[in-house]
Symmetry: C2
């Protein structure tokens, strides 16, 4: 097979399909090339496997190429809660930035394929590619923003949270070129409940209620949005 090198070449940053979602967005041609050379590419994890564990050393920022994952926060009592869901093109690992040890565990919700920008290289590259620091800082800020949005949800009722969750998943899938009105949820009701801070039974009940209202059609993890405006109206006062 003469193609091995070619395949490796095919998944470097320069011609990655995620280039306008991932780190390279905003970098120059040459910068992307030098970035491509130091990125660990094509790592694969199966459903249920960890990308990294809470307490383990921070090894770098990860860019999801395909598949989705959940980020679990762990408190001193060992309780786990879902901090965030990560979709293709999104970056994770920021929870290891401050202490150099991960505060969260990242678990694949389905088979995932990802790249990693090694931690040591981030420091070295800060001099070579100043804009890389800018981009990472910006992405880190996005994490912060989304946590704030999440906190805002906590003041609202369970119904509003579920409605918002469904719309957000839809929007994020749309941004990545997937169908926005009909999709399969990669996470369990338990995960959704944990993420929204409600019991998984409540998630079930509310989804069923939304179906009764003609807003969605739901069958286990398969979801179809029938009336998006109606969903939006539920949490936009």
């Amino acid at each position: 097979m003469a193609g091995t090198a070619a395949i490796k070449k095919a998944v470097t940053c320069e011609n990655c399909s995620l280039d306008n979602l991932c780190i390279p967005k905003g970098l120059s041609q040459t910068e992307v090339e030098s970035l491509g050379e130091i990125v660990n590419r094509n790592t694969i994890r199966q459903k249920g496997e960890a990308l990294y564990h809470a307490g383990s050393a921070f090894k770098g920022i990860i860019a999801l190429r395909s598949g989705s994952a959940k980020l679990l926060g762990v408190d001193r009592n060992g309780n786990e809660i879902v901090v965030d869901f990560m979709l293709p093109g999104e970056l994770l690992g920021f929870d290891g930035l401050s202490t150099q040890f991960h505060q969260c565990t990242a678990i694949a919700l389905e088979t995932v394929n990802y790249c990693r920008l090694p931690a040591q290289q981030i420091e070295l590259l800060a001099g070579t590619i100043p804009s890389l620091s800018q981009i990472l800082l910006q992405r880190s800020g996005e994490q912060f923003d989304s946590q704030i949005q999440r906190m805002m949800l906590m003041r609202r009722t369970a119904e509003e949270r579920v409605a918002c969750f469904i719309v957000q998943v839809s929007e994020r899938l749309k941004a990545r070129g997937y169908a926005e009105l009909e999709f399969r949820l990669s996470m369990s009701r338990e995960d959704i409940g944990s993420y929204l801070c409600i019991a998984h039974e409540t998630v079930s009940r509310i989804m069923h209620h939304f179906q009764t209202l003609g807003l969605i059609e739901v069958r286990s993890r398969q979801l179809k949005i029938v009336n998006k405006k109606g969903l939006l109206a539920l949490y936009s006062e």
Copy 2:
């Protein structure tokens, strides 16, 4: 008064009392000096005034020198919730990093004095002082971490949240050299309730309950921790 220049000199980064809490921590002598030259120093805001507004352009990272502030998140309906409380030595403004527009409003809870590292300079300095980017990235990660801690609290009862809040304020004051067992809360019950996602009446009731249990002594905003271990036990299972 020949002292004007001397006073200005006195509040530069090189001999700031917050140097091991603020940005300079981890920078070399010369790096701190060049940092000191571009920082806008000694800005003052009275209680209730804003350090910046949601929607306004991001002007840079702010370091609180004295006084405390609250960070308000605003959703599309105009509802405000307290995202975080900021104490002296802490950095804020990260909510403007991703979009270059602030997503939050920062309000002084008492008279505050702060410095600002201008946004444009951050980019320029990334080349000159590579470690500055590292530090900002690290600090940004801390924000993320504390939001995760906050989310973990949301799965717990109102009593556990209040107990945790009291201990956290105590710890943070201690880290900054203030009395850890007796202090005055700079925020209202309303603010605390918003931060913990509970009604302000519930905050009052629970604090009174803690007093009945002999854990604290509370009189309006004046707080004394009598039995810290007891408080800790309330949320450590």
